[in-house]
Symmetry: D2
Subunit: 152 residues, 4 copies
């Protein structure tokens, strides 16, 4: 198995029977469940404190999704073990792009595995105003460094 690139965090996900639809392939909304889990694990793996701590200390409630674009290249089914490689592709003043490659190592497939899904998300470091509305914090410099981001 190719190790993940520097700055990339790998998340492993088994596919279960109940994740599959009557066509016996993963029902696509489940890929987004796993992508969201991989997003959070990325921050945990980088040493970012859990959201409920950051909410107390800085008013950051998490990294809500603003925009997502996903492409489905190949299907998966139960028994498969998926690898989600995650990194931050771009830092912007108030948003960032989190990039995913979901793939599977097949015994008889190409050496770098079969790509199933690629996805680019735009997320924010979310805060909540007094009236309960979500807003975007400026990307905190220290969190960006923890996540392997170069100077902007």
């Amino acid at each position: 198995l190719t190790p993940p690139a520097r700055g990339t965090v790998r998340h492993v996900q088994r596919v279960e029977f109940g994740d599959c639809d009557p066509a016996r392939i993963v029902w696509f909304p489940n890929f987004f469940r796993w992508i969201d889990a991989a997003s959070r694990h990325f921050f945990v793996a980088c040493g970012v404190p859990p959201w409920h701590e950051l909410e107390q200390s800085r008013g950051i409630i998490g990294t809500p999704l603003v925009d997502t674009q996903a492409r489905f290249h190949a299907t998966a089914t139960y028994g498969d073990e998926l690898l989600l490689d995650v990194h931050i592709a771009e830092w912007r003043p108030k948003t960032f792009v989190q990039r995913y490659r979901i793939w599977r190592a097949d015994a008889d497939g190409p050496a770098d595995g079969t790509t199933l899904v690629t996805c680019d998300e735009v997320r924010i470091f979310g805060g909540r105003s007094a009236t309960g509305k979500l807003f975007a914090h400026p990307v905190p410099e220290d969190l960006r460094r923890l996540c392997g981001g170069a100077e902007g």
Copy 2:
């Protein structure tokens, strides 16, 4: 269609393609998703204020599940429209039994429809202690009356 009995609230649920598994029948955890929705709708239909209001006014955060017993009689698939008939079968000092019949009206089936799932749940009116632990409030007399409960 037989109307629901007095004290019974009926909840309608379409079955979607993604609710079904590779055997092309509803994957059973989805029945519990719908049962939980029907539980909440029962209280809304009886005029019980929403949980976030009751949390403010009385410290009741909802009706957490303590125990459930379900029997699966027949299967369903996408395109089916399910009826969930819900009532409170028993009131106890600190718990209550919420009872469900999930059924489907089939054109060529029995007049009272095909029973798919029957379920008895024990729930509490939940509070949260200072340390965050769940506890059971005594069943509030006024809420019991709203839900059609006779004197204990």
Copy 3:
């Protein structure tokens, strides 16, 4: 409520407690569950036979997703009733673009409601080869007409 435009099918979806995450807003993968249901309902509403019939008669197993792009404009929570307006924005030789606007009619909001999510999907009329691989059928002329598509 504004009625849906010609060629647009409206799908109604209640938000349940269990659809919401610890931030008390809809957990985003659930929007994709509802989008997929709205996609299938669109074809049913247009008079397209169910997939298991089309599989028998023409080898069309459904409309698998190739690519999706979604933008999240505002949040929703349980108790909300969402409207999903769906139409086909573009027909191509072997794919089509299915477009969604998910919105909510707020008593005190703008007359045309609050847009929550917009989404453009590329889908195919999927077939399965002898080896089990998915492939794209040319878009069938008669199905395109049923769905309100002008000549290509």
Copy 4:
């Protein structure tokens, strides 16, 4: 960590943010998703061939659920790692009881961990009749032995 007893298979499950509800605890239908996964993993771990093979060779399509009884003892939240210990508690001529203990090893808890959920399921080795109806195969002697079952 106590190792699982003989005849017991242990399944590990992370709790994700999206598995939790607005009360910030696992939404209970998700426990059933994990129980179903643990059920299948039990058979895989015991050396039972996958269902799609058994369907071909013997007409066994899986182990559909007939009845379930679950008790919820304590709550869990995201970041928790759950252990699902599974064994067959009883073999009957045409059904069997699959028993689950879901628990968490807490640093400062009791030595044998905190029990969150206990569950007893009645399942069958399911077949499908010519008309598509599910039926129960007599429990196959060889599969029972693989799963650690004593003579009946």
